[in-house]
């Protein structure tokens, strides 16, 4: 090596080596960069929702066909259907500004049935849009198993106005430990989160993702740094877009 070359590369390495290393590292970094996910609840498609969300034809004293009726049914001796119904009702309608009832300019209008789901005849039960269940575990339901509260959308019907299928019936299954013998806030988080699914909102892409927009769909239970238990203004706006048919296919 000449003195001139040594001066250019003090450690005896040609400049092209640095350039080549930079290129290699760039390729490897690009290959291993985490994949970004779109914000789950406020964009996109396939946002399954209850079919009655687009309209509001009830009165202040009785529901209409475009309102959402819900019943409760306990599958455990630990709590009664009435207890479950009381707690769901409390969360859904007793926190003005922080609740789903009244969302989307009252196109989300939630009415509790006076009896448990299984106390209605089949024709009447068929008119109830949302059924809330609770049990110690749901190993008999593959979607929930022993850990997760979950939602099943049933009885799809084509909406020719919006050009999408939405669902007449939704079944919300809670793990008992999510809503019983826990704090009031944690209980409400689960009740509001699963109801958010009924109204068209999605889960985050993964733990600790999609945290930028504060939402009951991805709070601290999903690894985000906030503990919100109620539907936020972003959640309510997203549900309004679903109701407006501007956030679905």
């Amino acid at each position: 090596m000449s003195l001139k070359e040594a001066a250019a590369s003090p450690r005896g390495t040609s400049p092209w080596i640095f350039v080549a290393w930079a290129a290699v590292l760039a390729v490897v970094a690009a290959r291993n960069m985490p994949v970004a996910h779109a914000s789950h609840s406020h964009t996109g498609s396939n946002q399954l929702h209850i079919s009655t969300i687009h309209g509001n034809d009830g009165t202040s004293t009785s529901p209409g066909g475009q309102d959402e009726q819900y019943c409760a049914m306990s599958h455990t001796s630990a709590v009664s259907s009435t207890w479950l119904g009381d707690n769901v009702q409390d969360t859904l309608i007793n926190y003005p500004g922080n609740m789903w009832d009244g969302a989307a300019n009252w196109r989300v209008d939630l009415w509790r049935t006076q009896k448990a789901c299984n106390e209605y005849d089949s024709a009447t039960r068929g008119t109830i849009e949302i059924e809330y269940y609770v049990k110690e575990d749901w190993w008999d339901v593959e979607l929930c198993q022993g850990y997760y509260s979950c939602v099943v959308a049933d009885n799809g019907v084509w909406d020719s106005v919006g050009g999408h299928t939405h669902y007449k019936w939704m079944y919300v299954r809670y793990q008992l430990e999510h809503i019983y013998n826990t704090t009031a806030e944690r209980k409400r988080k689960f009740i509001n989160h699963e109801t958010g699914h009924v109204l068209g909102l999605r889960d985050p892409a993964g733990q600790g993702t999609d945290c930028a927009v504060t939402s009951v769909m991805h709070n601290d239970l999903y690894g985000c740094g906030y503990s919100v238990w109620y539907p936020t203004s972003s959640d309510l706006a997203a549900v309004t877009r679903v109701a407006d048919r501007t956030n679905t296919y």
Binding site: I17, P63, G65, W111, Q114, R125, D154, S160, T165, Y249
Partner: protein, 212 residues
Amino acid sequence: MRKLSNRELAHVAAMLGMLVIGVRCGPEVQQDSGDAHFTTQNALMVAERRALQLCVELDPALEGQSEQLLESLEQDVAALAEAHPDWQSAGFGRAPVRVQRGCPGTAMPSGRMQSKGARLGPGLTSRPSPFRTFVHILGEAKAQEVLGDEPAVRAHAELMRVEDHMAAEVSTSLVIRASALGTEAFRQTWLPTGVGLKTLGGPAAVSPDSVK
């Protein structure tokens, strides 16, 4: 052309090694797993479905009438296609409707079925069948056992997971009496329900006494 020094050769070897390791250890490029794709953009519910297909399970007691019953069901479907205002927009007009014997993974129902939330079919799956609707046609004796006084029962046949903890029906089971085929009630209420369309008329819904 200048010959590479030993030091430069070592760098080149290290770079190649880094490239191989870095690329191979990176996340897999998503391959087509063969799983179907859920969609709400049409009433077929699965992107891979190209046409409305119905499969039929017959009560063994009706085996002698199978051709006649299938023909009757095909006529009902044709009448619905003609009468329903949403048939085309739902995506059912893209290709001829197919009706065929034999539903995948389904036994004939036994015992009294619930009218809501019942399952009759494969259940949760990532690869649903091509059939949007599973039709179970029962003779009168079997119908009494399964339906009781109900004219028919719908159930979910196949569900797809659409979120970690959320699933949606993509195929519907329709359990009917053989005598219901060809009736107005079947054409206006049960068949539309079974393929995911609004009912055409029918009795007004009874509403429970709900409160705020």
